[in-house]
Amino acid sequence: MTDPSPNVLPPEASSARAAGRDVRHGALIGLAIGDAAGWPARQHRSRLLPPWTRRLRRELDTFAETQDVTSLPVPFALNQDPTPLRLGPSDDAEWAAWTLTWLSTMGDVTREAVHEVWRVAATSGTVPRGRISVATAVDGLQGGVEPPHTGRHNPHHFDDAAAVRAVAVGAAVGDPDRAAEVAGWDAEVTNAGDGVDAARFVARFVAAAVAGGTSWHQMTDGGLDRLGSAMSGQEDADSAVPEGTLLGRTVRRAVEATAEAASPAEAIPLLDEVVDRVYSYGTAAAQTAAIAVALTDITLRHGTPPIDAITAAACLPSLADSAPALTGALVGAARGAGEFPVSWVGRCRVLAGCCAPDLAGVDIMDLLDRATGPVVKEGKHL
């Protein structure tokens, strides 16, 4: 169930509602599909197997090095149930679901209320397993550090953990400005700088697609400038990707480098030039959001299938943990859930519980319907 009373509405209202629902689901299932498509998903999901399986995998890494063989180990089950190692979503989808869960049960959504959710979750030990930025913020909260210091005094303040959560915020909150505001409150708990800017951008982009209903394409007419406007919040600016940040510069570089690309796949070697090769982690928002924006731009300009943007993003190995997920969220919001292949949707809508055990078995499409019911029905709360 999703639409509580389709038959009593005038046809155009019903159609707009259906379109909004399709966009919401598109953002969420796109995120989950992208989450599943990257190779790190199997690593995350292998957390559901006994620790010794992962210890042996680490030993096999060493074996490959010492024995000088090119056979690299992959997550394996040996004598265990191999179900967790099937294709499916992992950390990012669970984080979006966790965010949806608290957001949909919150009364008045205020900055203080959002921070309080984190404070309570941190002190009660119920925050899902997350990135370095999140774990550091949780340590801080447990030690009495207050937001936004938890996000600012944080070695990975620049990562995309909050940008991933912002997909849920954008899907739940229909209004773009409000979505960016709420996403910013959530983001500042774990991130700062690029990490917060990227979250505000993602929430605004998804919410704008939701608000646009069937005319979602209006917001992306004009390509980069409109994407840039969504990022900066300056709707009238001609060239609004923020110049003075690593995020803004990288987005611009990525979009410019792929301006001639006719398909996402064609863009990948060009985007490899934008990938950081220095650091040991590939979840910087400046990198993953830039890839997502560039591939979304290509998808919208050329009308290519949204799944192609995701599978292309998964071909950048160092960013494969979250660039495909963010790409999926943006193209899913822009094009709607109905444009993803049924084969992918069917495999990616149910959570594994590899980061938030309580969410194991939850269908994120159903969760979204429950979470956004009041918004769709009454247009209030958020």
Partner: protein
Amino acid sequence: MNLPERARGCLVGLAVGDAMGAPAENMTAGAIAERWGEVTGFLTDTPAGTDDTEYAAFSALLLIDHGSQLTSAAVADAWIEHLAGRTGGFPGAGFSELGTIENLRAGLRPPASGDHLHSWSDGLAMRAAVHGVFAAGDPVEAARLAAVDGAVSHAGEGIYAGQAVAAGVAVAMSGGVLDDVVAAAIASVPGDSWTGMALATAREHAHGNTGESQAWSVIAEKLLDTLVTPRYPWTDLGPEAVGLAFGAFIAAGGEFSVAVPRAVSMGRDADTTAAIAGALAGAMGGYSAIPPAWVDIGPVTGRCLGDVVAGLHLADLADHLVGATS
């Protein structure tokens, strides 16, 4: 005490700390104690400086050339001329240095060149003491110069960490007592910054505790507990490094022979924390405060940066820095 005496104390002190800490870099305090017992001097028979000494020497050369007219553009040009063309990597350097080089190679200029994923590293803090030597007695000017130098390679907290070291050294260079040195460092950065809060934490735990080794082990544990970010695997955070360095410096009452081994004993980025502690204590106590057994540290090897710094003597650079001021 005259300026050259303090300047030599600072830069040779930096090199001594670097060399003493290098074998303990990235080790835990427990592992260091298990391997070497109480740290009382060099940990190898052939102590040698690393990236801290070489980048400090490089920044000293820039100051000697440009003085207070130093610009971030000139720093960037020097990095491009002398460092960006190097092949085969940058031995001893951290993520922030290679991140900067990659940005410069891609055509970015400061401050964009310093805006990479490790902009908060301790890579400016490790070389910023030279700005305090040059701007002796003027912590505001020292911090300004550190920020000018740092804009090529760092941003945000990485700049603040450098400012704190430069400002602290500047006050020590003019005969400031320990409390003044620490206060100047804290005053040089925003109070709610990560670096500012790390320095305040270090002062809180270390102040007034100059007693025997038992007390130090308790202090060290508190410093490590409060300043280290356990969910992050690397040891290169600027706020952490200056916090640990100032903690060791304060707990030793600014005494060189105590401060530097104590910084080493905490591990983490031990060469950098000991280099900072050595620069502060050396500027405060002067060259004569460095124990004779440690003082003959030898010229810069050039293993990290090559010919541009190879063969330079820190004491000579110190003299030139003082001369460049007048």
